[in-house]
């Protein structure tokens, strides 16, 4: 028999699943590992539900469990598992008619090239909308560190995405192009 508390905890978990899964997949670089990471997170969240105090932020709590699990158990295999080119090819094949689809593929590939801690910070702040303070708590680091990681992530993305320019230019030229563009 389910208690009311259990069932409301379950409902609350279910409502967080879409965002938790989006974060997991973005962090892992592929959907299959991301889904595994969500399941592992759910198992931990469930067995530790007694430690979850009412009134605290369930979403932040889940994201904390997920990122800790990723960094302690999942990241090691990431390089072997992540298949950006394959994923890009799959995305290309799946929705080629969508406007801006190529941009999306480029973005996905660039995001995956970021260092893990930079990608994590950018996802938490830029995609999920956590404050720097909340993100710092989730990552277990200083607020300034989160800010620095987000800035680095943006800078690298700009270069990788060729917001600066295309492949024939070196990084120096790309930097100047970003600056030139910034000045217009």
């Amino acid at each position: 028999m389910q208690s009311r508390a259990t069932s409301s905890y379950q409902d609350a978990l279910i409502s967080e699943m879409p965002n938790l899964r989006a974060f997991a997949i973005s962090l892992c670089g592929n959907a299959s590992t991301g889904n595994d990471l969500v399941q592992e997170t759910l198992l931990k969240a469930w067995s530790n539900r007694d430690k979850f105090a009412d009134g605290t932020n369930l979403k932040a709590w889940l994201f904390t469990i997920l990122r800790n699990t990723y960094f302690s158990e999942f990241r090691r295999g990431r390089r072997e598992v992540a298949d950006v080119d394959g994923m890009a090819a799959a995305m290309l094949a799946s929705h080629p008619e969508q406007p801006g689809h190529m941009d999306m593929v480029d973005f996905r590939v660039a995001l995956d090239k970021l260092a893990d801690d930079q990608r994590e910070a950018l996802l938490l702040v830029g995609a999920e909308g956590f404050s720097y303070e909340e993100a710092a708590e989730i990552c277990g680091c200083a607020v300034g560190t989160v800010k620095s990681r987000v800035n680095r992530a943006r800078g690298r993305l700009a270069m990788l995405m060729g917001v600066a320019t295309s492949d024939e230019f070196g990084p120096d030229r790309m930097t100047h192009a970003v600056i030139a563009k910034a000045g217009t």
Partner: protein, 80 residues
């Protein structure tokens, strides 16, 4: 797309925030250091792309195996 090697960006400056992570191993495989501050419009464009990409994932249906796991967990209540 290749921004490889250990090339450093000319004119790169280290902000005070960067010193905070000075001793941390750099896992960024490009070797490119702190990027220059980005123009607000570039930042806004990247932000839009990030949210477009991310919301396409959020909008996907949650796989059955995740929902099944939640269901199984709630059914084991009291048996752990």
């Amino acid at each position: 797309m290749a921004v490889g090697g250990n090339r450093r960006v000319i004119g790169e400056t280290l902000s005070s925030d960067d010193h905070e992570e000075g001793g941390v191993e750099r896992r960024d495989d490009s070797g490119v250091g702190a990027p220059p501050e980005l123009d607000e419009r570039v930042r806004a464009q990247l932000g839009r792309q990030l949210r477009t990409y991310y919301s396409s994932l959020v909008d996907e249906p949650v796989p059955d195996k995740i929902l099944d796991l939640l269901k199984r967990l709630s059914e084991t209540e009291g048996h752990k």
